[in-house]
């Protein structure tokens, strides 16, 4: 394997094969909470991608100076710093989006997907592979949120990214934008994902 294909495979494994939402079942709070529309899903996904890439970049650079016992607080502070940057940026340039995401923006700090990438990959690998890995996971996460947001917005509101798709004949399923609908929609998407991945084989995925 040449150097380049290595980087590409670090990036691409987060998209489908190790998708943080559908396969690893990580970062569930934002996944369920903000995906009432496509726009919210994209906003949360991009903010999370920014934080995971930056935090992985810093973590993979400084990991040799961090004593093992205090690594969790250290990385938590690094993540919290980038979340603060992302939050202030959104407050300044995208106030409606920031208002829609509400308290779930600060909760990016405790998104276990981010700490997971730092613990499992960034601190054990060099700078460039860590960046590729984090970016792949971020994009995979964003894609999953967009998909879930799309399904819930379409069924719950008849629109997609604000554009009316299902006309006036459609009676929106209000439950899809309520909390219960989030659980059902994600469960069904996850089951579809499992089915596609299993193909003919009897593989148990997403099982904890």
């Amino acid at each position: 394997m040449t150097r380049n294909t290595g980087i590409i495979s670090h990036f691409s494994k987060g998209l489908i094969k190790n998708n943080p939402v559908f396969v690893q079942v990580l970062g569930m709070c934002p996944t369920l909470a903000v995906t009432t529309s496509v726009a919210n899903g994209i906003g949360m996904g991009l903010a999370t991608t920014f934080v995971v890439v930056m935090a992985a970049a810093v973590a993979s650079t400084i990991d040799r100076f961090v004593p093992n016992q205090v690594r969790i607080p250290v990385y938590a502070v690094i993540i919290a710093t980038f979340v603060t940057i992302a939050d202030l940026f959104m407050q300044a340039y995208f106030p409606p989006l920031r208002a829609a995401l509400g308290p779930y923006v600060p909760l990016i700090v405790v998104n276990c997907m981010i700490m997971g990438r730092i613990e499992a990959f960034a601190t054990r690998n060099a700078f460039v592979p860590s960046l590729a890995d984090a970016a792949g996971m971020g994009v995979g996460f964003t894609g999953a949120l967009m998909l879930l947001g799309g399904v819930r917005e379409l069924l719950g509101n008849g629109t997609l990214a604000g554009v009316t798709i299902l006309g006036s004949w459609y009676r929106p399923m209000l439950i899809m934008v309520l909390p219960a609908g989030a659980f059902f929609a994600l469960a069904i998407l996850m089951a579809v994902f499992n089915r596609l991945q299993q193909g003919g084989k009897l593989v148990l995925r997403g099982a904890v």
Partner: protein, 192 residues
């Protein structure tokens, strides 16, 4: 009266797990055995109550007077991480029996998003000290109720024939969805 209203709202109406989607990871991960779920719930309640009090002090006595709101997330997560660490050391020394039950769950709690949410929420809602502590306690109780219910249901699920693609996480989410539907019945019971 107000304290009771806060308690009812946090436990039943705006339940942390089913309304705000907080603490889903332990819900999927830990809620397979009833006794483990109960221990996790008690540990979370304990940490949440302490966190609410500690972050109230930080918010009111440090961040607000010195005009440092941008340090909110960083300071809260540090407080939570240190609090959990401290608690672990204290319980290990003082009450070894409790440590045996709660031990493995304590480090996990740092990354439980529900804890940070307690800290942020009490600051956002401008609670008084006692209100904040009750809010933290109630949130923990609400989490415990759901995770214990979930564990009971999942112990039964193990015996049932679930379609293969739904096994594991998806069926747990379906159960959580049904629980969320049931808890919607509490809407309007009280408001805070």
């Amino acid at each position: 009266m107000e304290y009771i209203a806060i308690l009812i709202v946090t436990v039943l109406v705006n339940n942390f797990v089913l309304y705000y989607f907080l603490g889903i990871c332990p819900l999927i991960g830990v809620s397979k055995k009833l006794d483990a779920a109960l221990s996790m719930g008690i540990a979370v309640t304990f940490v949440m109550t302490l966190t609410a009090g500690a972050t109230w002090l930080i918010h009111r006595l440090v961040l607000e007077p010195f005009g440092l709101p941008f340090l909110e997330y960083v300071s809260y997560i540090l407080v939570i991480a240190s609090l959990v660490q401290l608690l672990e050391m204290f319980i290990k020394k003082a009450i070894p029996a409790l440590y045996k039950t709660l031990g493995i769950f304590l480090p996990l709690i740092t990354t439980n998003c529900a804890i940070l949410f307690v800290a942020l929420f009490q600051a956002m809602r401008d609670y008084e000290f006692l209100e904040a502590v009750i809010f933290g306690f109630g949130s923990g109780v609400g989490f415990t109720v759901v995770i214990v219910l979930m564990a009971g249901i999942r112990e039964q699920l193990e015996l049932s024939d679930i379609p293969l693609p739904f096994r594991g996480a998806p069926v747990t989410l379906v159960v959580a969805g049904i629980l969320a539907l049931a808890f919607m019945g509490f809407t309007g019971l009280a408001s805070a």
